[in-house]
């Protein structure tokens, strides 16, 4: 389980990417069969989550006590729970909650972490301040942070998102900072400085765009980790609250029903594993494709 995020790489090649290299990278990803398979699974899952209202055969909260605790059947593909709710529909809606939290928390961590990393890498005097702040954040294991936040504000999807984002900020700061440190020393940056470019132009036009590859790679690891994080929090009762289905909540409520409905434990878990596995495959493929050192090998 990858909750605590370590930066994927702190010392990057940081060579400025030639134009069009990203499209080439995507094509390289698609040529890698595992990554392509992962991409297909991710796209299908995202579509299903986005169109959950259309693709699910039942509303996620419709109870039917005459069909309670039924094993998988043609009518209920993933079986039903103790209230007779269709598990297939709930898994699809659960996916939606997971993807929302995963994407939102990573976006939030980028919004906060990237500027901090740029500033810390660019202005030496800011570095110790930012480093102490991220160290303080790192001093709280992810779950303790989430638990603390949930204790203060009460558990909710928003709190789960913020807690997961907070846990990921240090890794984002570190990656951005080390990329900035490298890029700052590049000849083309020196040339821009000689040309009289302002700090804002240097950071925004010359450094940030070239740090994007490293950040994309970081994000491909962060999103699946965030999705697992969400399911863990919900499982512990610190994330999504019932009746909104989340894969973690479904697993938590399945725990007492081990003997009577083992399928209740199996399907939501398989959904999480498939999604995160697919995302990791895409991430691995992207990393290979975006890292020039890997290509030469």
């Amino acid at each position: 389980m990858t909750l605590e995020l370590v930066p994927v790489k702190e010392t990057g090649p940081a060579a400025p990417a030639p134009p069009g290299s990203r499209r080439r990278a995507l094509r390289r990803v698609l040529r890698n069969p595992l990554a392509a398979l992962g991409l297909v699974i991710v796209v299908v899952a995202l579509l299903a989550a986005a169109l959950a209202n259309l693709v699910t055969p039942f509303p996620y909260d419709r109870t039917d006590f005459s069909a309670a605790l039924q094993p998988p059947s043609p009518a209920h593909w993933f079986g039903t729970d103790e209230l007779g709710r269709d598990q297939f529909s709930r898994v699809i809606f659960g996916l939606r909650a997971s993807v929302e939290v995963g994407v939102m928390s990573v976006a939030l961590s980028l919004v906060v972490g990237v500027p901090l990393g740029l500033l810390a890498g660019f202005y030496g005097w800011l570095d110790p301040v930012v480093s102490r702040l991220t160290d303080t954040l790192l001093a709280f294991p992810f779950l303790v942070l989430a638990v603390g936040l949930a204790a203060i504000v009460g558990p909710s999807l928003t709190i789960a998102t913020i807690a997961i984002a907070a846990a990921q900020i240090p890794a984002v700061v570190r990656v951005t900072r080390s990329e900035t440190l490298h890029l700052r020393e590049m000849d083309y940056v020196a040339a821009a400085i000689a040309d009289g470019a302002s700090d804002a132009v240097l950071l925004g036009r010359h450094i940030l765009p070239n740090a994007v590859n490293a950040l994309i790679v970081q994000a491909t690891v962060a999103v699946p980790a965030a999705i697992i994080g969400e399911s863990v929090l919900s499982f512990l009762g610190l994330g999504v609250r019932p009746p909104t289905p989340s894969l973690g909540i479904m697993l938590a409520s399945a725990q007492p029903l081990f003997r009577d409905g083992p399928w209740l434990v199996v399907f939501p878990g398989v959904a999480i594993v498939l999604l995160t596995l697919a995302m990791n495959l895409v991430g691995d493929g992207l990393r290979d494709a975006l890292d020039p050192r890997e290509v030469r090998r």
């Binding site: 303790v144 204790a151 699946p224 399911s231």
Partner: protein, 318 residues
């Protein structure tokens, strides 16, 4: 060297102070009156006022903070609002459970991770590398709480060969302790094993193509000797660091694992404290966790600088 140690010590101390402030303010920010929570049922204003004075809650926040830190340094973390027992003692009872679980999990993770990593690096482009890589990817993608639930489902419900829950200390009954902790340790160690495997593999690949390995081969050393004596020994530096850095993952993982296997450890204590809104206890467990975490990071950094002198010469690894 000493300048580096001193700087890391000061940095850690600053972080620790920041952590105590965050924890203290965080708990003060909690909704509800702590005095009322401590008073529980008997809620007449006089009792509450008495409790407020007793705990110093009528003092300004900075004064309360200094008092809290002063007591914490002496090992007094206050009294649980729920059980009325000393927070320090309660944590003292829970900690050994988690430590035994974590130790067992680390052993499992290192054995599996290093073993699989070496195999994957040495037997490149074979079925064994493929299997090792796939298992590592699975280990990273399977949330450990689901892995735990499935393990219980298979090995405790469908084929009852291991107990589904409970804790027996290794000092009371080693055999039963092993039986009770085996599943939780594998579940907790699986993620770590995957990380270790990947790191070992890449470190081994690098080491195997290094000049000193070629020299060793040229001297006529056998394959096993080169792999284990030279390449692996140098790769273990990386592995040690990773284990250190991932201990936080273990702390978070322990919370979930203890919840699934109903182990009366530190993680369960944390979750229970949150759900019963036991503020002194929350404060205590968060403080202990953060302190331990900072301490471990400091230790890993110092160890690392001993192993790899380039770090303290260059100042900071960037």
């Amino acid at each position: 060297m000493w300048r580096y140690v001193l700087r890391r010590l000061i940095e850690s101390a600053v972080t620790l102070v920041l952590v105590t402030i965050v924890v203290f303010i965080g708990v003060r920010a909690l909704p509800g009156d702590p005095a009322r929570a401590l008073a529980a049922e008997e809620s007449d204003p006089e009792t509450i006022a008495a409790i407020r004075a007793e705990y110093g809650l009528d003092q300004p926040i900075p004064v309360q903070y200094v008092r809290y830190v002063g007591k914490a340094v002496q090992g007094d973390l206050g009294t649980s609002a729920r059980t009325r027992l000393s927070v320090t003692e309660t944590i003292g009872h829970a900690l050994p459970v988690t430590l035994q679980l974590a130790t067992f999990a680390i052993v499992v993770a290192v054995l599996i991770g290093v073993g699989a990593g070496v195999v994957a690096a040495v037997r490149r482009r074979t079925a064994s590398e493929w299997v090792a890589n796939s298992v590592a990817l699975l280990g990273l993608s399977i949330p450990n709480f689901w892995f735990g639930l499935m393990a219980v489902l298979i090995f405790a419900v469908a084929y009852p060969i291991l107990p589904a829950s409970g804790f027996v200390s290794v000092f009371d009954n080693p055999v039963e302790s092993f039986r009770h902790l085996l599943m939780p340790a594998i579940v907790l160690g699986s993620g770590l094993a995957a990380v270790i495997m990947r790191q070992t593999r890449s470190a081994m690949l690098e080491a195997l193509s290094a000049d000193y390995v070629r020299t060793a081969r040229a001297k006529g050393l056998g394959g096993t000797q080169v792999v284990l004596g030279h390449a692996l020994r140098n790769s273990l530096i990386v592995v040690t660091t990773i284990v250190g850095l991932q201990l936080g993952l273990l702390i978070s993982g322990a919370v979930v694992t203890e919840q699934i296997f109903v182990l009366p450890g530190f993680g369960k204590l944390t979750i229970d404290a949150v759900f019963t809104r036991d503020y002194p206890m929350i404060q205590g467990v968060v403080l202990v966790t953060a302190t331990a975490y900072i301490g471990i990071n400091l230790l890993v950094d110092l160890l690392y600088s001993v192993i790899d002198p380039r770090i303290r010469v260059g100042g900071r690894v960037t």
